[in-house]
Symmetry: C2
Subunit: 385 residues, 2 copies
C-alpha cells in the first residue's frame, strides 16, 4: 500500500480532484463537500440537545439508535430493498462497515473477487485480512461476468466486493441484466456479495436499484450504505444490511470494535429525517453535481490531447481518465501540482497489477469555472515535456 | 466469550450496576451516566455549528482534529505526561483505541500479560487476535509483580495491558513503587505496556499520575484515554499516546478502519475545552460519585452476609464483590432480577479460569437512596434459598 504517496497528493492544494478529507486513504471516497444542508442539520442538533440531551450524550446499543435504524430501513424500502430490523446495523461510516465485514468474513488466503479498479480504501481494508485478491475487470461498460463466473465456480465459498449501483472511480452502474446474473451466480455457488452502495443515490440519469433489491438477493447480498455522499460525512454514520445470522455476528463485533457509533450523530440524523426527505435533498443537489460533471466533461473534450480517454459518469463524484500507456499519472501529478492542480493517480485503485496511466478527477467540490480552469491547466501539464 | 449472558444482564431493568449502555459488551465500562454538563456541551455544539458548520460536517484527517489534539496533549501534560503532536491519535472512544492497538501489536499466539480481573471488553478485543493470555493477578492491594517479571523475562518481546491509575473492576490504583517497577521491567526486557487510563481522572483520594508520566516510560508505555468517564460517552472520542513510530502506523490503521473519528464530536469537545477546564468539571462531579460510593459501602456493610468481601474503591465507578466460593454470581443474578436489581456477574472480567463467585456493582448512575435500597434487596436475594 503506497499510503505515503496518496497522502502527499491528498494534502496538496487541490484545484480539482483531491478529497476534502485527504489523509492516508485520501484516494478513496470522493469528497462530499458541496451542498450539505447545514442549517437543517444545525436545527436537528439543537432539537436533539433540547429534547433528548441526556440520551444524546450517553451510551447506546451497538446495533445503533432504534428510530434511525427504522428510518434507514424505510429509505431502503423506497429503493426496493426489503429490510427487517434484525438485518440492519449502524456503523461508523461505510468504511467501518467494510472493516467489520472483512474481519468477519475473510481469512488469510481466502479468495476475494474485487472490481479492478475499485475504491482505494476497500483494497486497503480487505488487504489487512491478506486474502487472495481476484481482480474482476470493471469499466464504464460493465463488469467482467466471465471472471465472476470462473471465481464462484472454482471456489467452495467465495466473497465478492462490488459497487453495482455507483462504481468509484468509473462513475458507472451495472445493467439490470448484469445484476440478475450476479444474484443468480451467487445463489448457485454459495457466494456472498458485499455491495458498496455509498454512491447509490447520486444518480444523474434513471435511478438505479441496489443489487440487494433483486429477487433472491437477500440471502446472498450484503449492502453497505452511508450518509456521507448524500447528506454529510462529518457525523460518520453508515450501515450494513445483511442476513440476520450475519448481522447478529456483526453486532457483537461492532460492540467489541468501538462499542457503538456516536449517539449524537445518530440522533441528529434521525431528527433530520423526521422532518426532511433525503431524496428531496439529493434532488436539490443533483443539478449542481450534474453541472460540475458537465463542465468537467466539456473541459476535458477541449483540453485533453487526442489519445486521452475518460468516462462519462452517470453517478458519483468523479471522472476516470486513461492516459496513453507511456504516460505515468504520478509523474504528471508532480507537474500538475506545480500548476496548482491536484488529482488522484489511478494506480492505487487497482487491487493488483496496477497500470500507471490512469487518474481520477473529482468534480463534486468545485465550481464549474474552477473545474474548467483546472482541466485546462492539467491539459497544459500533460503536453509539457 | 459468553456475550449472550452479558447482554441479558445488561438489558435487565437495573437498580444498581448494569451499564447505561448495555449491549453485547455491557460488562465493561461502568456507565458515565451522571453529571454530564449538558448545557455547556449544547452551547459548544451550537457555537461549532454557527462558527464552523461547514468544517464540522466534513471529513477530517485520520489522526484527529488539530486543536483537540493540542488540548488533549495539554490536559495530559497537567498530569505529568509529556506529549508531542506526533505521539497523539484521536480514536472513536477508548474501545477503538484498544482495537487498533490489538490489531497492530498482537499476532496469534503472542503472549499478552493481562490483569485478572480486568475490563471485560478488553478481554474481548484482545481475544480477537487469539494471543496467549497470561493472567496477572490484580486486586485492591496491587498487581502481582512477580508474574509481570516472569512474563517479561521469559518472552523476547511482550505486551502488557494494565490499568495502573484506575482499575476496573476493583476501583484501585497501583502505588508509585509498583509503577516504577513496571517501567523498569518494561525497559529492561523490551516489553510494551498498554495503559488503560479511562478512569484516571475519577479519583476519590490523592490524584494518581498515569504510568506514562514515570521517568523512562515514554518509550515503553502506550496510554489510552477517553472523554467517556470524565465528561460524556455519547460523542465517542478517545485517544492514544504512543511512541511516534507506533503512532504513525496507528494513524494509517485508523484511516483504514473508519477513516476518522466523527468531526462534529471532536470539534464540540474542542469548543467545550476552550471555555471549560475538564478538571473543574470532574471536581464538581467527584463529591457526588463519592457520596454514591459511600452509600454503597455503607449498605454493603449493613446488608451483606458476614462471609461476603468487597473492595473500597479509591477511583472509578464500581465496587468489586466476592461471594463465598460456593455461591455463583449468575445464579444470584437470576434471583436479583426478580427483586428488581441487576449487576454484572464477575466471571466475564477474568481472562481465563474464571471463578464464578464475583460480581461488580456500579454506583455511578444511581442516587444514594436507590443504591441503599438495591443493596438491601441484593442482600435478601443472597440469603434466599
Amino acid at each position: 500500500m503506497d499510503l505515503a504517496a496518496a497522502t502527499a497528493g491528498g494534502r496538496a492544494a487541490a484545484e480539482v480532484g483531491g478529497d476534502a478529507r485527504g489523509g492516508a486513504v485520501a484516494g478513496g471516497r470522493a469528497a462530499g463537500r458541496g451542498p450539505v444542508p447545514r442549517a437543517a442539520l444545525a436545527e436537528s442538533l439543537e432539537e436533539v440537545m433540547r429534547e433528548h440531551g441526556r440520551e444524546a450524550l450517553q451510551y447506546q446499543w451497538p446495533e445503533g439508535y432504534g428510530p434511525l435504524r427504522e428510518q434507514v430501513a424505510a429509505m431502503l424500502r423506497e429503493r426496493g430493498v426489503d429490510v427487517a430490523q434484525d438485518e440492519l446495523l449502524i456503523t461508523s461510516g461505510a468504511q467501518q462497515a467494510l472493516d467489520l465485514l472483512a474481519r468477519l468474513l475473510l481469512r488469510p488466503g481466502d479468495a476475494l473477487g474485487i472490481e479492478s479498479p475499485t475504491y482505494v480504501a476497500a483494497i486497503e481494508v480487505f488487504g489487512l485480512q491478506r486474502p487472495r485478491m481476484v481482480p474482476l475487470a470493471r469499466d464504464e461498460d460493465g463488469l467482467d461476468l466471465a471472471a465472476v463466473r470462473a471465481l464462484v465456480r472454482g471456489a467452495e465459498k467465495s466473497l465478492l466486493y462490488l459497487a453495482p449501483a455507483g462504481h468509484n472511480p468509473s462513475g458507472s452502474s451495472l445493467s439490470a441484466e448484469a445484476c440478475e446474473s450476479i444474484v443468480e451466480l451467487s445463489r448457485a455457488h454459495d457466494a456472498l456479495v458485499i455491495e458498496d452502495d455509498a454512491y447509490g443515490r447520486i444518480q444523474f440519469e434513471e435511478p438505479r436499484r441496489p443489487l440487494r433489491s433483486y429477487p433472491g438477493a437477500e440471502e446472498r447480498v450484503i449492502l453497505v450504505g452511508t450518509f456521507s455522499k448524500a447528506l454529510t460525512p462529518g457525523l460518520r454514520v453508515g450501515w450494513i444490511v445483511a442476513p440476520p445470522v450475519v448481522t447478529a455476528q456483526l453486532v457483537l463485533l461492532k460492540g467489541i470494535a468501538d462499542l457503538q457509533t456516536n449517539t449524537l450523530g445518530q440522533m441528529a440524523l434521525s431528527s433530520y429525517l423526521e422532518r426532511h426527505h433525503l431524496d428531496a435533498h439529493v434532488a436539490r443537489c443533483l443539478p449542481r453535481y450534474r453541472e460540475r460533471r458537465d463542465a468537467m466533461l466539456q473541459s476535458l473534450a477541449e483540453h485533453m490531447p487526442a489519445e486521452v480517454r475518460w468516462t462519462r459518469p452517470t453517478c458519483g463524484f468523479s471522472v476516470w481518465v486513461k492516459l496513453p500507456e507511456a504516460q505515468a499519472a504520478d509523474a504528471l501529478l508532480a507537474r500538475a501540482i506545480e500548476a496548482g492542480v491536484a488529482f488522484e493517480p489511478g494506480a492505487a485503485f487497482f487491487p493488483i497489477d496496477a497500470p500507471r496511466n490512469y487518474l481520477r478527477l473529482s468534480f463534486s467540490n468545485q465550481t464549474p469555472e474552477r473545474i474548467a480552469e483546472a482541466v485546462a491547466r492539467l491539459g497544459k501539464s500533460l503536453r509539457a515535456p
